[in-house]
Amino acid sequence: MTENIAGFATGRARTGARPPREVVPGNPLRALASPVLWRASIHLVLDGLVALAGLAVLVVLVLAVCLAPAGLVGLPVTVVVGWALFRLAAVERVRFAVTCGLELDELPAPVCSWRLVKSLQSLVHNPCTWRLIGYFVLLVPVAVVTVVGVALVWAVPLTLVLLPAYYRGLPGGEAQLGPFVVDSLPRALLVAAVALLAGAVLSPLIVKLLLALDTALAVALLSRPRGMELEQRVNDLTESRARVVDAAEAERKRIERDLHDGAQQRLVAMSITLGRASSRLKKSGDHETNKLVEDVRRETLSTIAELRNLARGLHPPVLTDRGLEAALSAVAALAPVPVRLDVLVEPRPSSAIEAVAYFTVTEALTNVAKHARATRAWVEIRREGARLDVKVGDDGRGGADLAAGTGLTGLADRVSGVDGRFRLSSPAGGPTVIEVELPCG
């Protein structure tokens, strides 16, 4: 079983909206040639339609809420309208993505089913509902501004640029532009030239401004609220961390299995061959060579013992098979100081939690052996409902320090990796007590 741990990372942006991929270029000539400008203009025109749809939904919503006491009609209509509000928001997301390249995250949809009260509750409790209502309320005035604005931005320069072609057909054969009277071709051409220039420079700018207003509103109210975003992110991270912890545990098991099936078996097979050679040499009376072969065999045996301890430290098979107490009895036996072992864990926790508890004890006892100068140690593990309490203590000289770079740091990390709590009490002169609480729901 091989998993790509990095593959669990979900690449989410930090906010509910990513900045638009495309913007209207600042250079007027480029802007006019760029499709972005025209897509933006179409977007602004469409604002009107969406605003009308939104208004319709809101009106029905108000009616439905007024009818809510009537229950039978009001309640289902409210739920359906709420659902429609979110569908309309989804349409808006698509519209923003297509016409301005603005990507908004999907909103968490409310429940919409025949269980009306539950559906209504999920609507009311969903912070996005209120933001959407706000969005569509504000969209009405904003749409008025954008639709009128975008119409003027393109209609006015176009009317003036075409002036030389039709000013003669106007009543009186002239056009009155404020104090300026257009009554001859040169004048008309002048106006057209000025309008062309002004339009080319100002129109893209104004479209940009209007679009900024639109996207600001969308980013503010159509995306997820920041708190919700963070909550979602915490959930994602918690899940992915749990997956990483499980994957690491599975990886340890796999390595132990591979060592067992590979290197350990081969070394044992080698020691057996050496044993056979040795016994032949003994029979033939070649004691010199036999001594050499025996040396190699003993060396092989200590390698096997080393590898055994390494593999057992990764994940002892007996832990999977028989649980914590069985696995720890051997650890306690191998400790250089007497260890009192007291384990009551019923029912068994998940294998990841069991492995962390096992690792806690082995790491703590390793520290006792290395640094504590203790004469005895004790291990106590209890399951208290959804919590596993692991305590390891010794009567050594104390002064253990997380910052000292002992294995304790790795231990604390591994405990926090499963949402556990780690406490170390080690005053100078001892005793040292490590307390770990692990969740096992």
Partner: protein
């Protein structure tokens, strides 16, 4: 002596088979899992069988289960269980079956051909053989159980050797003391353990181990 061998690693199976046949022991069947072991024992009725603990399908304790099944069905067949790790719990399972003719050794011990064959013969003869590593675990595990903490270091050494299936003469040679002294220690241990002295070495071992594994 006729032996059935169960070991899932082909490399080791072959190695152990060769070693045994060179030591003049006939391997009547060599198989790769617990199921086949039971079938082979049923078919050949060997004097003893040697089995690995971790075998397919689950790679946990199949060999141990098969060994216990063999002891239950064919009491005249001794079982010697081999493992990369020796675990106190597995040892207790083996010796708590109220019978003997069981052995539990680290796989490393196989390389000392004479010692391995000796252990196998003792198991076939109905004695109990435990790896010193297991005995150590059993002794440590029982420290919280009182009677053991009353033993003197010397008595503890004697008990360990005894648990390993050594005879009084063997223990005397190991500790470089006289057999009379060994007998004195053993009597003292039994007094402290409040155990009736039984006939035969392995019986005492079982009594002691059952006491430790209680």
């Amino acid at each position: 002596m006729r032996v059935v061998l169960a070991e899932d690693s082909a490399l080791l199976r072959q190695g152990i088979e060769l070693l045994l046949s060179e030591q003049g022991i006939e391997v009547v069947a060599a198989v790769g899992d617990g199921e086949q072991l039971l079938r082979a024992v049923a078919e050949h009725r060997p004097d003893a069988c040697v089995t690995d603990v971790r075998m397919p399908p689950t790679f946990l304790d199949e060999g141990l289960r098969a060994a216990l099944a063999v002891r239950a069905r064919w009491p005249e067949t001794g079982v010697l269980v081999l493992s990369h790790y020796v675990e106190e719990r597995y040892a207790i399972d083996l010796v708590n079956t109220n019978d003997n003719g069981v052995g539990y050794l680290l796989k490393d011990r196989v390389s000392d051909a004479e010692e391995f064959v000796d252990a196998l013969r003792r198991v076939a003869a109905g004695e109990t053989v435990l790896d010193p590593e297991v005995v150590k675990q059993l002794l440590i595990g029982s420290r919280q159980r009182d009677p053991l903490s009353t033993l003197t270091p010397r008595e503890r050494e004697v008990l360990t050797a005894m648990a390993g299936g050594r005879s009084n003469a063997g223990i005397a040679a190991d500790l470089v003391i006289g057999t009379a002294a060994v007998e004195k220690y053993i009597r003292s241990i039994f007094v402290k353990f409040d155990l009736q002295q039984e006939v035969g070495d392995h019986r005492r071992v079982l009594a002691v181990l059952r006491y430790l594994g209680a």
